[in-house]
């Protein structure tokens, strides 16, 4: 029996809305990042949850390939969305997410986080968590493109993207964060606060891959 056109169109709409859902998940991840600390995040917390969903939405089509390997046929509808109002709905939602949520609301929230950083400092807290969350929100579009570039399109695409994100964190972000740790260590030293911990952390940030190999060799 042929699949009704409306059902095919609904499937197409949902699949084509996956990138928009991924962008929304990234914005929510930015908000969770500030709530959970900013300079760190909880494994199993809101940030990791929304990042995982962002990755899942980006790799949704390759992920569906698993159903075929389980013996469940998942015929993907080809072509565009035939029903005009559904096509219009998909286009409107995508535009809303790209132009309003990411383009405007994300930027406004980032501005609020910058304000929050100043207020945090005024109340004796640290401004860095809010600044980092603001930077994450401003970079949502670039982060989305980065995750998309890691998509291998295979059944393992979700795991591949998560692996690549780990490599990106360990190889790109952590060496830069080591510089911030050194700056913190200097400030702590000058103000007679504990500085050695940050020096050890800076070294660890430069050796993340080595520490991972160390854990692997301990496990073997």
């Amino acid at each position: 029996m042929a699949v009704p056109q409306l059902l095919n169109d609904i499937i197409q709409v949902l699949l084509q809305l996956a990138p928009a859902a991924s962008l929304v998940a990234l914005v929510l991840a930015g908000l969770s990042l500030r709530r959970e600390g900013g300079t760190t995040f909880l494994l199993g917390g809101g940030f990791t949850k929304w990042m995982l969903w962002a990755v899942v939405f980006i790799t949704l089509v390759p992920l569906l390939g698993w159903f075929s390997s389980f013996g469940v046929a998942t015929p993907m509808p080809s072509g565009g969305i035939g029903t005009a109002w559904l096509s219009s709905f998909q286009s409107d939602v995508s535009n809303f997410v790209t132009n309003f949520i990411v383009g405007r609301i994300g930027t406004t929230l980032a501005a609020y986080f910058v304000l929050r950083a100043i207020l945090d400092a005024a109340s004796g807290g640290h401004p860095l968590p809010s600044i980092l969350a603001a930077m994450f929100l401003l970079g949502v579009q670039a982060t989305y493109s980065l995750i998309q570039s890691y998509n291998t399109g295979t059944q393992f695409a979700t795991a591949d993207v998560l692996d690549s994100l780990w490599n990106y964190l360990a190889g790109t972000i952590m060496p830069i964060a080591a510089g911030l740790a050194i700056v913190g260590a200097i400030l702590n030293f000058a103000t007679k606060r504990p500085a050695m911990r940050l020096v050890a952390v800076a070294l660890a940030m430069l050796c993340v891959s080595g520490i991972w190999k160390l854990v692997l060799s301990m496990e073997a």
Binding site: G179, V183, S209
Partner: protein
């Protein structure tokens, strides 16, 4: 706009713009503390460190690249390099400073007596130059301790 560029520029700004500016502030704090006979060393050395943030990061990068990136011993070797650098490069320099301080104090204080402060400077200088030997001595004691008392 990307998160990588943001955090990179933030680090550059903090390390190359803000810290050199704060160096002057820390020097002023050191002078004020010195005037009130308070401990000024942290502010003074902090000011110097503020001017050396990039150099210190390069030093850390050198320590962390003593082994291949995927070597399990890379963190241990980076800590060894850090300790080696502190004990065999910085401490001898500090020994030189202590010798100079001791000589100055000896020249200013007319009395020559072992309880005078100048002796402490020379003892510190000697200890700074003997750090490796002291560690070897402690290792010798521990090694003989495990063997039991004969």
């Amino acid at each position: 706009m990307s998160f990588t560029n943001g955090i990179l520029n933030l680090t550059n700004w903090a390390g190359n713009v803000i810290l050199p500016t704060l160096a002057a502030l820390f020097l002023a704090i050191a002078v004020l503390r010195f005037a009130r006979s308070e401990s000024y060393a942290a502010a003074m050395y902090g000011a110097f460190l503020c001017l050396m943030a990039s150099g210190l990061l390069r030093a850390m990068e050198t320590f962390a690249s003593q082994r291949a990136w995927n070597d399990p011993d890379v963190y241990w070797m980076s800590l060894v390099s850090l300790v080696d650098w502190i004990c065999n490069v910085l401490m001898p320099v500090y020994a030189g400073l202590q010798v100079a301080a001791g000589a100055l104090r000896m020249g200013i204080v007319t009395r020559v007596h072992p309880t005078e402060g100048w002796l402490r400077h020379f003892v510190v200088a000697g200890l700074c130059l003997l750090l490796s030997g002291l560690v070897r001595l402690a290792e010798f004691f521990v090694a003989h301790g495990t063997a039991g008392i004969q």
